[in-house]
Amino acid sequence: MDRNIKRILAVLVSVILLVSLFQGITPGVLGTKAEEPAEFNEHKKAAKSDRYTMYVNEDTLSLIITDKVTGAYMESYTSYDDGLANKTWWGAMNSAVVLTLISGNDDTKQANTFNDNITKKVTYTELGFTATLYWTTYKVGLTLEVSLTDSGLVVRVPDESIKEDGDKYKIGTIALYPYMGTSYLDQKEGYILVPDGNGALIYLDNKERRYSAGYSSMIYDTDIGFDESKVETLLWDEYKIVNTPEQVIAPVYGIAHTGDGIAYLAVVEDGAMRASIECLPNGVSIDYNRAYAKFVERKLYTQPTSNNSTSGSLHLTESERAHSDLQVRFIFLSEDEANYAGMANAYREYLKDLGVLKELETAYRTRVDFLGSDREKWVIGTSAVVMTRVNDIRNIYADLEARGVTELFTVFKGWQKGGVNNLPISKFKPDPKVGSAKELAKLINDSKAKGIRFYLYNDALRINPSEYNVTFNIVKKINKRKYEEETYKSVYEKFDWIIPSRTETLLNKLVSKMNRGGVNSLALAGITNNLYSYTYSGKNYTRYETAAAYLKTVDAVDKENDLVLEQPFAYLWGHTEAFLDMPMYTSSYIVEDTFVPFLSIVLKGVMPVYSEYVNFEANKQEFFLKLVETGTYPSFYITKESSSELIYTNSNNVYSSQYDVYGDEIEEYSKALSDINAKTAGATIAAHDMLENGVTRVTYSNGVKIYINYGESTAEADGMSIGSMSYIVAE
């Protein structure tokens, strides 16, 4: 009897313990209460919007954002202690601001708002609070402004508030609320949205410490102005075999707790040019999932002291801090919206409100690009390899028209004198073997009259040192060494880059000459997806300045001309009539669990999006399905002559392009995809679901649903059966 009672007691106690433990580690749903309390988990109510309430802990400045309707909430700190984190980690995990400091050659020193001696002054404002922080030990300080409105939670550090008073410590990086939406192991169901390529997710499941590193990448790609002392692993010491990872095209990331029905999309609004996105799942150093933007104020770099790069070098710190306000906007999403499609929709609305995304004509077109000519080596100098002449393009158009393909979009590459690699272009002078300026202008205007969009391609960044004098106006890295881009090809082995002011001069020259020749449509590349710091005549320029210069240049060209940009970074999206070369994949990092077409969802229906070239896809069927899934329009790279002609040129990576081979495929793609896109015309993607059985369901704002089955067997979804490697459009 006694024993039984004891047993029952033991069971009861353990159940109670378990339940309390369980509750302890699963905060998340506050319980749907009609009235919100003034205080919540030691946090004080500070501001509210229509739907969300912000609570703040004045001591640590940590935040809790609650959803008034569902009671779901997200925290900017770790409320559950697994007892494994050391003091530094624990401090970072509970801080509003985490800094790394540079002292000499060491940039690993960390300072945060939890562990360190700081003087702090918090004043409450109508929308939130302002906290002036000063680290007395390191003599650095900043002002943190937090406000909550209907358009999201804005966290801001004004540039002028950043202080570095001491000589010993300088600020390296700044992270604002790095643990916003953090969770322990698989305690929350959901994922981190990674802005890798088109988009990727890292699920919040238990990673069992499999990964030693998370996702970390600079927004708008790495900065070539700093020597990343990374040695490329080359096949047979000669060929680049590992692909460069995809760029971060838009300055966003997000975390969704799908189980709780709450999510945020973070947009790095100010300071994005010098910030990296860090998405770290549990198991990377600590067992907590987190994602944040890390602003780089100062960077270490290597200064070689001899021409021979191996023999001597110094490690230096950037002498001047990069000046920009730092601002992250957390847009909170609830219930049905609390997922990646919701994030994409929120980002689209945000860009629309900002005026970046305008109402563009988004009707379906097939992109058929042409390569004019390139050069191969000859006894003396080089000789032209002519691939597509102006007249050939005319004939190809006529043939396509006969096949019923009339909705076309063309970027003409390698039209300029001297071929595709004769850069920069400053004259409207086609290669005589391709055609005359008059012929080309006539082709463009005739095509336009027929409704074909036709753009002349210009890489406004690169200069060919074999053809042009590269003594002046060339990009030099912060260590004052010339930046040279290796092509790993045999005719032209290296390219240099032109500084932004020179690009502007040359581009204006070209545009005015083109306009005089009666042509006003241009496709820009190079400057659209490269940002760098550089030094010129003794002055250092940051990425902020490069971006500002490019924005001004592109804006001026855009005003007078039809302009499209090749894979443009988000800050240029307002100046393009179409998005060229949308990545359909990610960089395949191990930590990423799945691909999601985040950027495609953002842009579908508001901007025509064209894929990378279909020619070079090894899995054509799968790529086609990707186009269907993402609403992307196909692109082909076409030449009149057989691409085997290109074998001795720098374009020898164009190994398949002949029109005779691709005519049928262009027709097929055009017919199939224009049918689908006619049904979704003008609509945006409202929802995107990856169903359990491997079927992807894309729901458009006009109610059209597309089901795509990538699986190797027929699958059922919503009562329909979709064949293997095929799709169904349901209205």
Binding site: Y211, A213, K230, V231, L235, E238, Y239, K240, I241, V242, N243, P245, T305, S306, N307, N308, S311, L314, L316, S319, E376, K377, W378, V379, I380, S490, P583, M584, Y585, T586, S587, S588, Y589, I590, V591, D593, T594, F595, F616, E617, A618, N619, Q621, F623, S642, S643, S644, I647, Y648, N652, N653, Y655, S656, S657, Q658, V661, G694, Y710, G711, E712
Partner: protein
């Protein structure tokens, strides 16, 4: 590395593909892009990017709930069952095709297992290095046999038995790679508890020219102290269903991958090879796969031509499809590639793309001799990649077999397949001759008659008097005479030298003109000669360095020869030496144009004429130079030989000196540059 029944017809291939679909559970996401590029190598040895051949498909990190620790080898059976040698845990883990755990065995028996082989009847052989034995387990995982060190005398008394990798043929004969056994692969028969049959497929030792010279100089005692020149031990091996064994060996250059027939004779020598191969596997289409330790994966066809190389080392980027330390590779019946990474403790599975499937179909049809049928998949491959070398090569052969010689000529030129090119050219030339023979004979006859008539008329009426007069007038020019002297010099070198020394028969100007002509001829011949004898690839030109090399070589030879002659009582002046050398190259100038023209019309059958012509010409040049050195300096034969050797030695010393001076000066220059810079940066920061 396992026995397989080859698909003998397309139907069974399709069946195999269907089987694949029952394979591993679908990966969570469709991965279309790869973190690596795929390359292929063409007949010129240049590397060309191609469509992705294999995509990362899935990664096996766990079998059921069992994690792996430092796995070193595995065997994939035809039905998809995987036996993984989980070396870190000293056990064998068996996985079902679906990835579920079937069983675990070997604990307690295995000490430091390194290699595994499982036969189709699921008998499992494990090579254990530290146990110095091969353990055999029955399908239930019970130990049924242990083979230790062979007791045969041929094996070697002092030779240890440390088995690393093994394969077993259908008779149960084991082929074992052993650590520090340089005799080759140990072949053990299962009869009488393990009979040593001998060594198999021993690698060749390699002696460079340098070692040979070195060894000739050393005494016996010194030679004994030298590192012994032992053949390299193979690193891994695989077996196909016909019992043909494939081995890979590090640092063996184009013998890195070998295909050994039953007699142990190598049948392939790939031109593209990996320096650090870790494993080899046999594919389903007479193809072979080599995995490099660093993660590159090579696919070869039957002839040892490289089809693809892809993959690569993961330098901390942590991207799917890149590897850290590859130890084993296996090919599934569905052509999927399984690669074991011992550092990452996982098996990465790669799936062929549509492009690769087309290529494999072509490979299969082609190897079966169904050329016409193979044209369809080949054209698809070529449409997808115009520059894919193997497809060009096979297409050329297929077209040749069909009698489309012009097509064959075009494709074989792209692929640099000299044999097919030569054969097609022969056919085309024969057809041309057939068509034009009468015309050609008529033209020749007409020409002969014309000459005869002209001569006759000239004799009678002197109609050629004016042109003849003009010609003799031109011949009277001093420079023309000097240039014409080259023909005399070729035939009469001794008098020729006398003429140069004493009679001012040549001048610096004439020699320079000849030199320029020779350079011109050299360049034209090098870049525009017939395809069959061409030594440089089409489309590559490097004129500046050609001229530079010729001039530097000439300067060195003439200069050094002059230096040596002056201190050896030579009578030659610098100018005379220079001129006689240039004139000595007369035959080159005269014969190269002929050889050049000939090279455009010969096929491999008559290539002898070109080669012989070249040899003859060079011999002539050598004789002329020898005589020139002798006569200009008034030496006897012995002195001449001595002076030539001395000149060669001087050239060596001068080159060495130039190199040392260059290195020293660049160091000094670098140093002088560094000091102010360092000061500036230090102050600046």
């Amino acid at each position: 590395m396992k026995k397989r029944t080859f698909a003998v017809s397309l139907i069974s291939m399709v069946l195999a593909l269907l089987l694949a679909f029952i394979g591993f559970a679908e990966p969570a996401a469709v991965r279309g892009d790869t973190p690596y590029k795929t390359y292929t190598v063409d007949g010129y040895g240049s590397t060309i990017e191609t469509q992705t051949a294999y995509l990362p498909y899935t990664t096996i990190t766990k079998i059921g709930e069992e994690s792996l620790k430092g796995p070193t080898d595995f065997t994939l059976l035809d039905d998809g069952t995987i036996y993984i040698l989980d070396s870190g845990n000293k056990r064998v883990v068996v996985s079902s095709p679906e990835g579920d755990l079937i069983k675990v065995f070997g604990q307690g028996t295995l000490m430091s297992p390194r290699g595994i082989f499982v036969t189709e009847d699921r008998t499992c052989y494990v090579a254990d290095r530290d146990a110095k034995a091969i353990f055999v387990f029955d399908p239930e995982g019970n130990l049924i046999k242990t083979y230790g060190k062979p007791d045969s005398a041929i094996y070697g008394e002092n030779q240890v038995f440390m088995p690393l990798k093994l394969v077993v043929n259908s008779f149960g004969t084991m082929y074992v790679v052993c650590e520090s056994n340089t005799n080759g692969i140990v072949e053990i028969s299962p009869v009488e508890g393990g009979t040593f049959l001998g060594y198999f497929g021993t690698n060749n030792t390699r002696a460079s020219l340098w070692t040979i010279i070195w060894r000739a100089i050393l005494t016996d005692e010194q030679r004994a102290k030298q590192l012994s020149n032992l053949p390299a031990t193979p690193d891994n091996l695989a077996i196909d269903d016909k019992g043909v064994i494939y081995t890979v060996t590090r640092g063996e250059k184009n013998e890195a991958l070998k295909r050994l027939n039953i007699a142990g004779v190598n049948m392939i020598t790939p031109q593209t090879y990996e320096d650090l191969p870790a494993a080899v596997a046999v594919g389903n289409h007479d193809n072979a796969f080599v995995a490099a330790q660093s993660g590159y994966i090579y696919e070869y066809n039957n002839d040892g031509d490289l089809l693809f190389v892809f993959g690569g080392a993961d330098d901390g980027q942590q991207r799917i499809g890149l590897s850290t330390k590859v130890e084993a590779i296996q090919i599934g019946k569905d052509d999927k590639i399984y690669v074991l990474d011992s550092d990452k403790a996982q098996i990465q599975v790669y799936k062929p793309t549509e492009f690769t499937d087309h290529l494999h179909e072509a490979l299969y049809l082609f190897s079966k001799g169904r050329y016409t049928e193979s044209k369809k998949p080949l054209s698809t491959v070529l449409e997808m990649n115009n520059l894919f070398d193997y497809a060009n090569l096979a297409m050329a052969k297929a077209l040749y077999k069909e009698g489309d010689y012009n097509g064959a000529l075009r494709y074989s030129k792209l692929a640099k397949d000299l044999d097919t090119y030569s054969d097609s050219f022969w056919e085309i030339r024969a057809a041309w001759l057939k068509r034009n023979l009468t015309a050609a004979v008529l033209i020749i006859v007409a020409f002969v008659i014309l000459v005869a008539v002209l001569r006759f008329l000239d004799k009678k009426y002197g109609i050629l008097k004016a042109p003849k007069k003009l010609l003799s007038k031109v011949k009277e020019f001093k420079l023309v005479k000097q240039l014409g002297y080259v023909f005399y010099f070729m035939r009469h070198p001794i008098e020729g030298c006398y003429g140069i020394r004493h009679q001012e028969k040549v001048s610096l100007l004439s020699s320079n003109i000849l030199l320029a002509l020779m350079i011109l001829v050299f360049i034209i011949n090098k870049y525009f000669c017939g395809f069959l004898v061409k030594t440089v690839r089409e489309g590559s030109f490097d004129i500046a360095s050609d001229i530079g090399i010729i001039l530097v070589a000439l300067f060195l030879v003439v200069g050094c020869n002059y230096l040596m002659c002056t201190i050896n009582d030579g009578e030659g002046k610098l100018k005379h030496i220079y001129c006689s050398f240039i004139y000595g190259f007369g035959p080159y100038l005269c014969f190269t144009p002929v050889i050049f023209l000939l090279s455009h019309v010969v096929t491999d059958n008559e290539r002898f004429f070109v080669d012989f012509g070249r040899l003859f010409m060079l011999a002539w040049v050598a004789v002329l130079i020898f005589i020139a050195v002798k006569e200009i300096n008034n030496y006897n034969v012995k002195e001449t030989i001595k002076i030539i050797l001395l000149t060669a030695f001087t050239i060596l010393i001068v080159s060495l000196l130039a190199f040392i001076i260059y290195v020293l000066w660049s160091q000094v220059f670098d140093f002088l540059q560094q000091i102010p810079r360092e000061v500036v940066y230090k102050i600046g920061s």
